[in-house]
Every structure is written in C-alpha cells, then in structure tokens.
C-alpha cells in the first residue's frame, strides 16, 4: 500500500506543477493527504469490483490500478487520455478495471454505484460497488435514499465518506448537525463505521469487512473516514483555514505515507529508491501525454 499511496502523492504533486505551468487546465482537485483512503479501500477490491469516484478522483483511479500515462494524457486533454480527452480531471473513466468515472456533482455518483451493486446482484456475480464521496456528499439527500435502498435490497454497496472536514471553504462543523457521519447508517440498519482515514491499515481493515459482508450477500456498509485536505479545495480558491488546524494535520506523524513508512520500517534510502522509481514512471507518463495528439473534432459525439 505504501507504493500506491506514494504514487498518488507524487502524481498529484506533478499535476500541481503542470497546472501551475499551464500545461494542465480546468478544475483540479488534489488528493494529497487523503491517500490512505483509496489505497486502503482498493486493497480490499478485485479488478471486477466497481468504483464510482468524485471530483477529487485521481487517487481513486490510481489505487484501482489506473494507467498513469492515460491519466496524465486525459489531464492534458489528449486523444490518448483515459476518457479520450472528453472528460478531464473530474471525469476520468476506465471501465476495463471497474473504474466507472469521476463525478462533478457532489453526491451524483452515489446512486450510480448503487446501480452497479444492483447489477452485480442481478447477474449473480459477487462483485461489489464502492461509492466515494466527501463530507459534502452527506448533505445531499440522494445519499440517504441510496442507503435505504441498499439496505432494503441487501445490495453489495459500500459508501465511503472521505471526511476531510471541508466542503470547498465550508467546515463540517458549520454544515452538519451531526459530527459523526457513521451514525447516518443506523436508521437503515446497516453498519456505520468511523475510521482513521489517515491510516491505510485501519481503512483497509474496515473496507475488508465491508467487502466481505457485501460479497456474502449481507448488504451495505457506510464508512466515515476521517482525514484532512492538505491542499486548497481547487486551483481557483484561496485557502483560509486556521493555521493551527493545518499545522496539526500537517505534522509528519499524521501523514498517511509517513505513518506507513514508519510502520513498515522502510529506511529513508529504501524510500528514496521507491520514490525514484515512481518518479521515473511519472516522467514517462508526462512525456507520453505531451507527445500525444489532440483529439479530433467530433470525437466526443458519443
């Protein structure tokens, strides 16, 4: 999992550079600091399981096995992109590995994931479907409708809240009457589990249980993963969060990657080597994206 988390981190840092340099345009939401969630969840998934992502989805795709070259090409709007340049950062797709797309609408992907879970049940497959969403997604009614349906129909559905404390500039404490989103599961009679979202092992453990339940036909689970958004919400929005809060979450001991490195007792030289490997893959990805042609006019007319 360390490798996956580091791949996500370095990918996002590269994206940030390219965005600053104007090589990548549009709206970019970085996953830095939240890597443990997608990594821990995907570690419990198979290729034929489904993932439905959000506006902040690069990490979800990398963790599901996404191709860095085609991702980078997508961000540059190239014909070789994983959505052929039609989707961009918020709408990457790779159905061949069960990655069913990012979503620009907060909460919009949740019932879609429900549908994939339904489809698995219908076909008698034991695949499961994961819906990621932020704390902001907890305020969208469709989540509650979906939890009810998933519970009632015992669908292999896993709702993963990436509770990074902010929806754009609005803190959770200002929007949510409840502060523990795992309690939203109770009225529907499904497990709601609060997890340390900066600990990939904790996430993985909870996800593994949820996946096992789902595969066994026992239905849905809601995970509330506590984490923190290290970067600003999006390129265009200045960041005004309290410095103490950022310092606290910024502490090296809180960093999901560093926590994993220490736990695995990876030495700094070993880590540097891993890092270098990933960076060279990223060099290739960027080069691939740069060299790729622009899509032909008309190529998104699905």
């Amino acid at each position: 999992m360390l490798r996956t988390m580091l791949s996500i981190r370095l990918f996002e840092q590269r994206v940030k550079q390219l965005y600053r340099a104007g090589e990548i345009v549009g709206a970019i939401h970085l996953y830095i600091g939240e890597e443990a969630i997608a990594t821990g969840v995907s570690e419990a998934l198979r290729r034929d399981d489904y993932v439905f992502s959000t506006h902040r989805g690069h990490g979800h795709l990398i963790a599901k096995g996404g191709d860095l070259k085609r991702m980078m090409a997508e961000l540059m709007g190239k014909a070789t992109g994983c959505s052929r340049g039609c989707g961009g950062s918020m709408h990457m797709f790779d159905p061949s590995i069960g990655f069913m797309g990012g979503n620009g609408i907060v909460g919009g992907g949740i019932p879609l994931a429900l549908g994939a879970a339904f489809s698995a049940q219908y076909r008698g497959a034991d695949s499961v479907a994961v819906a990621y969403f932020g704390d902001g997604g907890m305020y969208q009614g469709v989540l509650h409708e979906s939890l009810n349906l998933a519970a009632k129909w015992k669908l292999p559905f896993i709702a993963v809240c990436e509770n990074n404390r902010y929806a754009a500039t609005t803190p959770v404490a200002k929007s949510a009457a409840s502060h523990d989103f795992s309690t939203y599961a109770a009225p529907h009679g499904i497990p709601g589990v609060r997890v340390d979202g900066n600990d990939c092992l904790a996430v993985h453990k909870a996800a593994k249980q949820a996946v096992a339940r789902a595969r066994a036909g026992q239905g849905a689970t809601l995970l509330d993963c506590e984490t923190y958004r290290v970067e600003p919400h999006c390129g265009i929005i200045p960041d005004d969060r309290p410095q103490e809060e950022r310092d606290e979450w910024g502490r090296i001991e809180n960093d999901p990657i560093e926590r994993s490195r220490r736990r695995l007792k990876i030495t700094q030289p070993q880590f540097a080597k891993l890092r270098a490997e990933i960076e060279s893959g990223l060099d290739e990805a960027v080069e691939f994206a740069r060299q790729s042609p622009m899509p032909k006019i008309g190529s998104c007319d699905a």
Binding site: G81, G108, I110, L114, G115, A120, L149, S299, A302
Partner: protein
C-alpha cells in the same frame, strides 16, 4: 387484425423484450403490485419474477441513478416514472448523469436505458401532475425522444427503444391508455426517427406530437372540402424525420405544429426553426405553432380545457393560414 389498448401494447412489448433479453428489467414505483397504478406492468412479475420487476420506494433520484449505474454495468433497464413531472426530483440523475456519462467517458460508457414516462393533460390533476417535458429532453443533449400516439406505434417504438443502446425517453399519454385499436398479431418494430403521415393532403401540413394527432385528424375531417390538410405525426422527436416534414412542406408551403407543451422554446419552435432554415423558399405563409398556454395547468376543467389546443383551435389556425 386484433384489438389492443395502448397500455396493453406497452405491456406486450415489454413481455417480448424481456423474454428476448435477460438483461432487460423493469424498475419503478408500484410496478410489482398488480401491474402498477396504470396497469402498465401487468403480468410481468408473474412471468419474470421479482428480480426483474422491481418496485421501488418513492426515491426517484436514487432509483434513476440506480438504473443508470446498472446500465453502465451491463443491464438494460426500463425505468418507469409514474407521472412525468416527478422526473424533476431526479433531474440531476437525468440531465447531469444519464445525459452526459456516455460523452464524458469518450464513448466508453453505453446507456441502453428506456425511460417510460407517463404524461398527458386534461385529466384535472393540476399543474404538478401534468406537464409536457419533451422540449427539455430535446434541448439537453443526450436523449432520444419518442411520443407514440397510436397503439401500433406504442408497441413498435417501445421495442425499438428497448433495443437501442442510448437513453430513450418514451413519453406515454394517459389519455390514450385504455381505448382499443386494431393492430396486427405478433411482433413488429417501428424504427426511431420516422414520422407517420397520418393523413395526406395538399394544402396545409399539420405536424403533431403525441395526443394532438387525434385532434388534428378530427380537425382535418371538419375541414374536408375547404382545406385539404396533411397530418404528420412526428412520433420520434429525436431523431426527427425532417425528410418527411420537409417533403410535406415542399408540397403545401404551409406548416402548423401542434403540441400540448407551452409554445415558448418548445419542440414546435424547433421544428419551425428547422423548416425555416431548410425550406424557406417553399413557404407560402408564416409557419405557426399551436401549443399549451404559457402557464402551469390550472385545475378547474373550464380553465384546463382553455389551456390546451382543441380541435376548434386547430381548425381556426388552419383556416387562417390556408
């Protein structure tokens, strides 16, 4: 020939297509309870079981999204919306998701979804239960749209819709549901994108959407001897059969479009736009649209009737242009 009602034709189409393809299933409110409120799913539960006939709670957004997600992963849902204005509750799932996923994915996602939406007006159910929405689904790219006005077309178009690989909005009119018409035995398809010349004539082309087909035919009958009216039932609004409409206008030089939706930014305006753009030189008079009044439909029968295009209104409009 045999007699069949519009709603039974719909049921028959679903029976045939569900038997033909295991991935076709039905989802919507009450669809698994005695054939649903409109009797539009009679017998399906008994034949295909609860797995393929899914009654839902009143959660249009969730189950519309569910249908879409299931189509992304191999199924072919027939999604029933009990009254068309309830689509609005699920509009993000229709217009931001279903409409856009195929294009945003660069064509990797196909959505073979049929949306059966029960529409129609004149039933004194007031504004929140009666509203034509074809223009919205035509304006926002991503849907095919059909509006059958006969029993034959109901069955044939529904079967084509179910077999199509993109979202098709199939707009039903509850006023047509229960009156039998003659139809052939067995199976047939009506391809998407073909208008039906319901009556030939040489003086004025009247293009209808859905239920007004009947009213236009009645008007044409009344006008017999004075004006020779050609009635074209558009049937399929997207794709739209401009060839048939254009050929008619080239013959008559006069166009009247009739629908129940409000005129402003409606499908009639679009047909006028296209006819004007493509057949301007053939026009002998200004093309016109006769549509619903520009307000939410009132309850009171006298008021509701006054808001909808009636046979007399068509007669008068045709007289004015001929």
């Amino acid at each position: 020939m045999r007699k069949l009602t519009y709603i039974d034709a719909i049921v028959e189409a679903m029976h045939e297509e569900m038997a033909r393809d295991e991935s076709v299933y039905v989802i919507g409110e009450d669809v698994d309870i005695k054939g649903g409120v409109w009797k539009g799913t009679v017998g399906l539960l008994e034949k295909f079981g609860a797995k393929r006939v899914r009654g839902t709670p009143i959660s249009e957004a969730a189950f519309t999204g569910l249908a879409t997600g299931s189509a992304m992963t191999g199924l072919r849902p027939i999604l029933e919306i009990m009254y068309m204005p309830f689509c609005y509750v699920a509009m993000d799932q229709f217009l931001n998701q279903m409409a856009k996923l195929p294009a945003m994915s660069g064509g990797q996602i196909k959505l073979p979804i049929t949306i059966r939406a029960q529409a129609g007006a004149g039933t004194r159910e007031a504004a929140q239960h009666s509203q034509s929405q074809e223009a919205i689904f035509l304006h926002i790219p991503g849907f095919k749209v059909v509006m059958p006005a006969t029993v034959y077309d109901a069955k044939g178009l529904l079967k084509s819709a179910i077999r199509d690989d993109s979202p098709v909005l199939f707009i039903e009119d509850r006023n047509l549901y229960y009156e039998p018409e003659e139809v052939p035995e067995g199976e047939w398809l009506v391809p998407l994108g073909q208008a039906d010349v319901a009556r030939t004539g040489k003086d004025v082309s009247v293009v209808t959407l859905g239920f007004p087909r009947r009213k236009a035919l009645a008007a044409a009958k009344q006008l017999e001897g004075t004006v020779d009216v050609e009635v074209i039932d558009a049937r399929s609004l997207e794709p739209l059969d401009m060839d048939t409409i254009g050929a008619s206008v080239m013959k008559t030089g006069r166009l009247l479009v009739v629908h129940e939706a409000p005129v402003r930014c409606g499908a009639g305006a679009e047909i006028v736009r296209r006819v004007v753009a493509e057949y301007f030189d053939y026009l002998d008079a200004e093309p016109r649209v006769l549509g619903g009044a520009n307000l939410p439909l009132p309850f009171s029968p006298v008021l509701e009737d006054a808001c909808l295009p009636q046979v007399n209104d068509i007669v008068n409009a045709v007289r004015q242009m001929a």
